[in-house]
């Protein structure tokens, strides 16, 4: 293995500022409740990064097995923050799996991402307000375009990840159709079950994540299936959409609130270090929740024809446009796909005995 010192410098750009302090004692791995013999981290990953074993890192599933309990960072005798290193590694991998190179650009230049998000939001909003046609029809088209765009983006990631972790080694396409593997993958995806894998389950963190995730998934379903037509229909308490929208908004706002609070307080290892993209992510989620809820409540109170409903709805769609285009494919959000994916690939590797 050739030693490459440039690699660690690259990873450090994603946040792992103190990892050079690591002297490879392995306390982090010893205390990590999620590390397994055949999926060992953080020490192994840190060492690969220190000596610049780029290929080994990019074909590793370990970064996704880490749920940032923070026990490693608490235990580290050198204050090297292995937990934050694993987080940085995930950011690094996202940008490596992204064929467009935009992820990397955004991670390195968070200001550009902010400007772009605000720009897209403003341009969309101005366009929506000046639009003379039937906005409800336009919104339907926009919302229907989202799934196609997101699917394309996710497919790109999934394929790169599959290629680096499986295909490059096996040289042929391998898949697992084992029912228990698929079941496990789905359970992990839906419940983020490994949050309970930390020695002390951080219930607040897990519930906040679940609230945000379920609320957000629900919002996606509502908008992608175009279930809401606030400019055409007048919604009441008894409509089926009402509990859905209220739950989705509540989940996002409550969960987002907890997450932001913790990032401010910095009491827990996982919320000590905030990358600018983390803030943007939480802020945007919040805005989506609030604008959806406001539109819905205004519609219930004033009916579909009210000017306030139209403006609120246009703001809501403009936020969603910026979110879908910039934030979904290129930053943190992608985690929720990588984690279950990693479980699936881990089991696949085991099944096919791929070293």
């Amino acid at each position: 293995m050739k030693v490459n010192t440039k690699f660690i410098k690259e990873v450090k750009k994603y946040g792992a500022f103190d990892i050079s302090a690591c002297f490879n004692c392995g306390n982090c791995t010893a205390v990590c409740p999620l590390s397994k013999e055949d999926s060992s981290f953080p020490r192994k990953m840190i060492r690969y990064a220190q000596v610049g074993a780029e290929d080994k890192i990019e074909s590793s599933l370990e970064p996704w097995m880490c749920y940032y309990c923070g026990e490693c960072s608490d235990t580290c005798p050198r204050q090297a923050y292995p937990g934050e290193f694993m987080m940085s590694l995930r950011r690094y991998l996202i940008s490596r799996y992204d064929a467009t190179g935009l992820s990397k650009f955004f991670y390195m230049n968070s200001w550009a991402q902010n400007i772009l998000v605000i720009g897209i939001f403003l341009v969309s909003l101005i366009f929506f307000i000046s639009y003379n046609g039937d906005f409800q029809e336009l919104a339907a088209k926009i919302e229907l375009a989202f799934p196609a765009y997101v699917t394309l983006a996710i497919f790109m990631y999934v394929f790169t990840m599959y290629k680096k972790t499986i295909l490059d080694k096996s040289k042929k396409f391998l898949f697992s159709f084992d029912f228990s593997n698929i079941k496990e993958t789905l359970i992990h995806g839906l419940t983020q079950k490994n949050f309970s894998g930390c020695s002390e389950t951080d219930w607040t963190r897990w519930i906040a994540h679940l609230l945000v995730m379920s609320g957000y998934t629900l919002t996606l379903i509502i908008s992608n299936l175009h279930l809401l037509e606030p400019l055409k229909k007048h919604y009441g308490l008894l409509d089926i959409t009402t509990p859905l929208v209220f739950y989705a908004a509540f989940g996002i706002i409550a969960g987002g609130f907890v997450m932001m609070g913790r990032r401010f307080l910095k009491k827990i290892q996982s919320s000590k270090f905030s990358h600018p993209t983390d803030w943007l992510f939480v802020a945007m989620l919040f805005l989506i929740g609030i604008s959806t809820l406001t539109t819905y409540i205004l519609n219930m109170a004033m009916g579909p024809d009210a000017e306030a409903v139209a403006i609120s709805y246009k703001i809501n769609i403009a936020i969603e446009v910026a979110w879908i285009i910039i934030i979904v494919p290129f930053t943190k959000w992608i985690h929720i796909f990588f984690r279950p994916m990693a479980i699936y690939l881990y089991n696949l590797k085991k099944e096919k005995q791929l070293a």
């Binding site: 030693v3 660690i8 000596v51």
Partner: protein, 603 residues
């Protein structure tokens, strides 16, 4: 040779030893250590019937104050004039009991210590009867010996109140300054024309970060301005003679003049040498970019600002290899010229290498630094912080397995180091580097002549050896000779200074009173019996201790053996070859041994 006065210190207060012998025997229980196996009552009873024994007692702890009081009382009130104590090893309490005799006014050498613990009860646990019998015969032999014992007086040698320090490095300078502070004179004998030794080429030193050369200069100034210290520069020692309190060191100056230096004690501060890699060891000597640590320190000191340029090449990465010439393993490492490998750890190289790596990073932050070690031993107070700093400085560490050696290969202008790395799950690593620095260890300086002149003991590693690492850490077996610093083994500057101070204080304490007490167990010659056959001097291992002299005995001039009490170690080699029994070791005469053997054989 001019000699200092040797005289005896009179111990005898009570002259009653001239009277009919009255022996007291004391059998100690040692709190069960002895009495659990040996029937001490029976021993005491048997001995009470033995000839010339006036008192025979047994007691739980003879070394206790009550036990000692028995002895004093028996001597003072019951006219006892010789004492035998059957107890533990004399190494433990011989001096205790001699003190009791002295307090009672009896010559402390009219006393025999019989070891019935280590030599009887502890080794014959399963044979109590046999043990008791053995104890009885040993104590009887003790009585026979003490009956033939002469009162002895300890010998005192007048001492020259000057300490000679060999070597003017940091240890030598410190030792001389300490000696001077203690009110004695010091003489530094330095072979070069400058004080400071290795310090003059050591870059900056941990843990203070000072320039080594300025430390050397400060000490040197202090030494040269002291009116109690004389420094002989450019001086080579050609011979050392004499004994504690009265050494003579012959010195050859650069101008060819000879000088004789007199000293009461000698401190050896001859320091160490750097291990010199053989040609091809990690590429040394084959490529000008493979350097030893001292060479690198010098190169780094000389290099200018901007880019690190060495020998016309811009250096972008430097690799340090630990344990070169240290912690060698038989069968893996090539032995040195003496056919030996260096198994010891040189102790200072880890911190020194890492300190240098940090200095390199401070001067040229962009240079990549690799460090290949097997154990990091930054053991000293706060040395760990250097290691920590190196990590933060992005030094990349590789840990080779103990029995593996990295290889250094040259591929055109490129240097490649290949090593197995424990930290990367034992994978084979390949490091491309512009320069290799070998962390060479310490080896003993070549002081063969001094070792020969003074008969100095050396350890298996080739460094000078102390008597006991904890109990007598800076003394060698030869009286009056002390070691300071790395002549004794690898030490850092701090440790060397501590050793130097200890050696200086030891030397000063030895010479402070102006005379030196010695054990009286030396050879004595019965000049009437001596035939002048000259067999004994040939057997003597201590040069100058035993010589033949012309002397008038009983009005006739004759050749007789002469003992220098200060040099004699009391080994008895002379007594063994003397047919007429004219020479004997005081306190251990052949007549005494005869009587002891007879007492034991009688049973």
């Amino acid at each position: 040779m001019e000699e200092n006065k040797i005289y005896e210190k009179e111990h005898t207060i009570n002259e009653n030893y001239r009277q009919k012998p009255k022996v007291a025997v004391y059998v100690c229980h040692c709190g069960g250590n002895i009495s659990d196996v040996v029937d001490v009552k029976k021993v005491a009873e048997e001995l009470s019937k033995y000839h010339d024994v006036a008192i025979s007692r047994e007691y739980a702890f003879m070394c206790s104050s009550t036990g000692q009081d028995y002895i004093v009382e028996d001597i003072q009130k019951n006219g006892i004039n010789r004492v035998v104590i059957a107890a533990c090893s004399p190494a433990l309490h011989e001096l205790t009991f001699r003190g009791a005799l002295q307090r009672a006014g009896l010559n402390p050498y009219l006393y025999e210590h019989v070891n019935i613990r280590e030599q009887v009860s502890w080794v014959h646990k399963n044979d109590k009867e046999g043990a008791t019998k053995k104890a009885i015969s040993l104590v009887k032999a003790g009585v026979e010996k003490v009956l033939r014992q002469d009162p002895l007086n300890s010998i005192r040698v007048e001492a020259v109140k000057t300490v000679a320090v060999i070597g003017g490095g940091v240890s030598g300078m410190r030792a001389a300054l300490s000696v001077a502070k203690n009110g004695l004179n010091a003489v530094i004998i330095e072979k070069s024309d400058k004080l400071g030794g290795k310090l003059n080429r050591s870059g900056n030193v941990y843990p203070t970060g000072e320039k080594a050369i300025s430390v050397a200069e400060n000490l040197s100034k202090e030494v040269l301005s002291s009116d109690k210290i004389k420094v002989y520069f450019n001086s080579e020692i050609t011979f050392v003679s004499g004994y504690v309190g009265n050494f003579q060191i012959n010195v050859k100056r650069k101008n060819g003049e000879y000088e004789k230096i007199k000293a009461g004690a000698i401190i050896i501060a001859t320091g160490f040498d750097n291990y010199k890699p053989y040609e091809g060891e990690y590429g040394y000597g084959l490529n000008k970019f493979v350097l030893t640590l001292p060479e690198f320190i010098e190169a780094l000191e000389k290099s200018g600002p901007g880019k690190f340029n060495y020998n016309g090449k811009d250096i972008n990465s430097v690799s340090f290899i630990h344990c070169v010439g240290s912690r060698q393993i038989d069968g893996i490492d090539k032995p040195g010229k003496n056919g030996k490998i260096n198994e010891y750890c040189s102790r200072v190289c880890c911190t020194s290498l890492i300190n240098t790596a940090n200095n390199l990073k401070t001067k040229y932050p962009d240079v990549e630094v690799f460090d290949i070690y097997t154990d990091i031993r930054t053991y000293g107070m706060d040395h760990e912080s250097y290691y920590k700093e190196a990590s933060k400085n992005d030094v990349i560490f590789f840990r080779r397995p103990l029995e593996e050696r990295p290889s250094v290969e040259f591929d055109g202008a490129k240097i490649k180091i290949k090593t197995k790395d424990v930290l990367t799950m034992n994978e084979d690593m390949e490091i491309e580097t512009d320069m290799v620095v070998l962390g060479v260890g310490m080896v003993p300086n070549d002081i063969t002549d001094l070792v020969e002149y003074m008969k100095l003991p050396k350890s298996s590693d080739g460094f000078l050896q102390e008597v006991h690492p904890k109990l007598r850490p800076v003394e060698v077996a030869n009286n009056g000779i002390f070691i300071a610093g790395t002549a004794q083994g690898p030490m850092d500057i701090l440790e060397s200074l501590q050793a130097s101070n200890t050696a200086a204080v030891k030397a000063a304490a030895l010479l402070a009173s102006g005379d030196i007490p010695l054990d009286p167990f030396v050879a004595v010659v019965d000049e009437d019996k001596c035939t002048g056959c000259e067999k004994c001097p040939k057997e003597c291992s201590y040069s100058g201790a035993l010589t033949m002299i012309e002397k008038e005995v009983n009005g006739k001039k004759k050749k007789v053996a002469y003992v220098n009490a200060a040099l004699c170690k009391g080994c008895g080699a002379c007594a063994a070859v003397c047919e007429p029994r004219a020479i004997n070791v005081a306190g251990w005469s052949l007549d005494q041994f005869d009587a002891m053997v007879e007492a034991i054989a009688k049973e």
